[in-house]
């Protein structure tokens, strides 16, 4: 398996310098690996972003989180403790910051389909990047939360034999998610390895 030297990607998700997309050795079982996935970008070393609509999901969850945080402080205000109001203002500040950074956070989510592995990254403050070889994927889930479903989005979750892997790509357009799932299952099948 020849590995092209991966160009160093830039941290903020800008497209890496254009390289010739490596032609993937297709699984030779005659099945197309991307059934109904014309909108899916070709295999490449570029970072793929999730749908901008996913900001909606993030905003809703951030808003709920902020409300809960504020709600916790209410009893202290009612009881008249000295830290009631400061706690509330802190909660508001945290909530607003959280909401304000939602688009930035969504932009930080990215995945990259390389020749032999999937690289996933997310987070600005708590940045993490995970590489999962295709052959290691044991199963792939598609989850849809209520807000995501209203926006026509889905989440793709990968399970390997290691519980800690925990890679899930949120905010994929549903048809993309299905296509990506089928493609990844095909890739996993063609590179099936033991445990």
């Amino acid at each position: 398996m020849s590995d092209p030297e991966v160009p160093p990607h830039t941290e903020d998700g800008q497209r890496a310098s254009p390289t010739v997309p490596e032609v993937l050795p297709q699984p030779d079982d005659g099945q197309p690996t991307t059934p109904g996935g014309p909108e899916l970008p070709p295999q490449s070393d570029d970072w793929q972003r999730v749908s901008p609509k996913y900001v909606g999901v993030e905003l809703v969850s951030a808003a709920i989180g902020a409300l809960v945080l504020c709600g916790i402080t209410v009893p202290f205000i009612v009881l008249g403790t000295w830290f009631g109001w400061p706690a509330l203002s802190l909660a508001v500040v945290i909530g607003v910051l959280n909401l304000a950074f939602a688009p930035r956070r969504v932009r930080s989510i990215g995945y990259r389909l390389r020749a032999d592995d999937l690289v996933f990254r997310r987070g600005i403050m708590f940045h993490r990047r995970v590489s999962v070889p295709y052959g290691r994927m044991q199963l792939i889930d598609i989850n849809r939360g209520p807000v995501a479903r209203a926006l026509g989005l889905a989440e793709l979750k990968f399970v390997t034999a290691a519980a800690a892997t925990g890679v899930s790509i949120p905010g994929l357009v549903e048809s993309d998610a299905d296509a990506l799932r089928d493609r990844l299952v095909g890739l996993a099948e063609s590179r099936r390895i033991g445990l």
């Binding site: 032999d116 940045h127 990047r129 052959g135 290691a162 033991g194």
Partner: protein, 548 residues
């Protein structure tokens, strides 16, 4: 039992071929060993009473006061006798039926077990997915010459359990299952069965054949002799493994390691508190806490001691074999490539003695319940033992230069072929930043960390599930990254909490590539069909078939 499965032969009489693809039954004494003890007790109770009755009938004498007498006096003896007989018959019939319905079959690719009378279970496991084969001999079963065979595959509670088999049958079945799983070609396996083993795989396989013949004495008349021999036989047959690959633990060191454990420290602290408290007035506290405490601690030590006594690790042709136990013995065979991560660690108290312990991550823990014994490869050993055990667990580490690397990974304070974390990472690792680092061999990555509690984790690239690089706010401020290698769940910790960010990026990419490459080249699921070991020219069809 009209629905009873057809069975080729029992697992006991003669020496039927257990891997001929036909259904076989377990050892006939299985019901007895699995809980028929209660039946025996009831029978014994009844018989003892009848004997007293008989004695009294012949010689006369005082009427004993027992349930039979009560029943007799009330004129219910007939009913009691009937109930007893019916109960016994139902019990015997039930156990007999469950034994009859419990059958197993070993084919070329799968091992299957059918069991249950009312609720039938049929379990089938692929041989190339075997993660370990263990044979346990609880004391009681050991006296009867029986053994329990567990074939474990990956997953929660995913094992095919054959309890009980004849002791020799269990050994033979293990050898043959491993032979089939190893991917040795059918013809070779057959030749091996016949006893003629002069083929490429032979050198190793003939060794195991000779165990079979050594462990199974021919004539049935020496049955007592055979039992005694089996009982006294060493846990690991000397002919199963070359002696230089066997690592043993002297009992003295075992006791020392138990005394120098965290448990002892906790015990001393509690003891000191109790003594102080009792001296300052509360005398009764001494009795209330100390007596049960001492008893519990003694039990813990005794348990740990007998469990680890006679611990031996040896390299056999079918992987590493770990045997342990004094009264109830157990051994566990890990085929090559079933070890997902290895950790060599040194508790602080052991440092003066220079002792280490080795634990592993494995998919699907075989053996008796507790995961602790089945993931501990070396309870306590010297650096030399560590080196030998590592060589057995990961043969790729047996080379000369990797030997230096491992030694550096264990004891060096810095350098020694390992990358180092920068000085600015001290907030994460105030003492060990010099030691924190990684090194890469041809087929594994070594992660070194810990200054006070020294750790060395080794993960074969072929077993890496995924890699993660994490950057938290403090990491970001100091230009650091955390790097984690994910493997299947287990006691091994395989991460480096703070590395230079750029070095971590490079390692991430390099290790990801190495993991993919190693996994693609890995043939451990059929270890003996590895081109370098047996076949100069591997059958492409076979390879293709297995890779899908």
């Amino acid at each position: 039992m009209s629905g009873a499965p057809e069975v080729a032969g029992t697992g006991k009489t003669g020496r039927p071929d257990l891997v001929d693809g036909e259904w076989h039954r377990l050892h006939p004494a299985t019901p007895l060993l699995r809980g028929g003890i209660a039946l025996i007790a009831v029978l014994g109770f009844a018989l003892a009473n009848f004997r007293e009755r008989a004695v009294e009938l012949v010689f006369g004498g005082p009427v004993p006061d027992d349930p039979f007498q009560t029943a007799y006096e009330r004129g219910h003896l007939g009913w009691v006798g009937l109930a007893l007989v019916v109960g016994l018959l139902v019990g015997i019939a039930g156990f007999y039926a469950s034994w009859r319905m419990h059958t197993f079959r070993v084919g070329d690719d799968v091992v299957e077990v059918r069991s249950g009378i009312m609720f039938r279970t049929h379990r089938r496991a692929r041989l190339d997915r075997i993660q370990g084969v263990s044979i346990a001999r609880p004391l009681f079963a050991r006296i009867f010459g029986a053994a329990k065979l567990d074939i474990s595959v990956a997953g929660q509670d995913a094992k095919v359990q054959l309890s009980y088999l004849g002791s020799a049958d269990a050994d033979r079945l293990r050898r043959e299952v491993l032979l089939l799983a190893s991917g040795v070609q059918q013809s070779e396996a057959e030749a091996d069965h016949a006893g003629g083993a002069a083929d490429p795989a032979g050198a190793a396989a003939s060794l195991s054949t000779s165990i079979g013949t050594a462990a199974v004495p021919g004539p049935p008349d020496g049955i007592v002799h055979q039992r005694v021999r089996e009982l006294l036989a060493p846990e690991l047959d000397p002919s199963a493994a070359p002696p230089e690959s066997v690592v043993r633990i002297p009992p003295g060191r075992l006791i020392g390691s138990l005394v120098l454990s965290g448990f002892t420290v906790a015990l001393l602290v509690v003891g000191a508190i109790v003594v102080v408290a009792s001296v300052t007035g509360r005398q009764e506290l001494l009795v209330i806490i100390l007596v049960p405490g001492v008893l519990a601690a003694g039990g813990y030590y005794f348990n740990r001691f007998t469990k680890s006594l006679r611990y031996s690790i040896a390299g056999t042709s079918d992987g590493v074999r770990i045997g342990y136990g004094l009264l109830s013995t157990s051994n566990d065979t890990l085929p090559p490539g079933r070890i997902h991560a290895v950790e060599v660690s040194q508790p602080l108290l052991w440092r003066a003695a220079g002792w280490w312990m080795i634990r592993i991550n494995r998919a699907g823990a075989a053996g008796e319940g507790s995961g602790q014994t089945s993931t501990t490869m070396l309870p306590v050993g010297t650096v030399d033992d560590v080196r030998r055990v590592l060589g057995l667990l990961l043969p790729g580490l047996a080379g000369e230069q990797t030997r230096e690397l491992v030694l550096a990974g264990l004891v060096a304070r810095k350098g020694g072929g390992f990358s180092a974390a920068p000085r600015r990472s001290w907030p994460y690792q105030p003492l060990s930043w010099r030691r924190t680092g990684s090194a890469v061999t041809a087929d594994a990555v070594l992660l070194r960390s810990g200054f006070v509690w020294r750790h060395l984790s080794i993960v074969p690239f072929a077993r890496v599930q995924s890699l993660r690089l994490t950057r938290r706010p403090l990491h970001r401020a100091l230009r650091l990254s955390e790097l984690t290698v994910h493997t299947v769940a287990g006691p091994v910790r395989s991460n480096l909490s703070a590395l230079d960010a750029e070095a971590a990026d490079e390692s991430f990419e390099a290790w990801a590539r190495a993991a993919v490459r190693a996994a693609a080249a890995d043939t451990a699921h059929r270890w003996a069909s590895h081109p370098a070991l047996t076949d100069p020219a591997p059958d492409p069809e076979e390879t293709r078939h297995e890779s899908l």
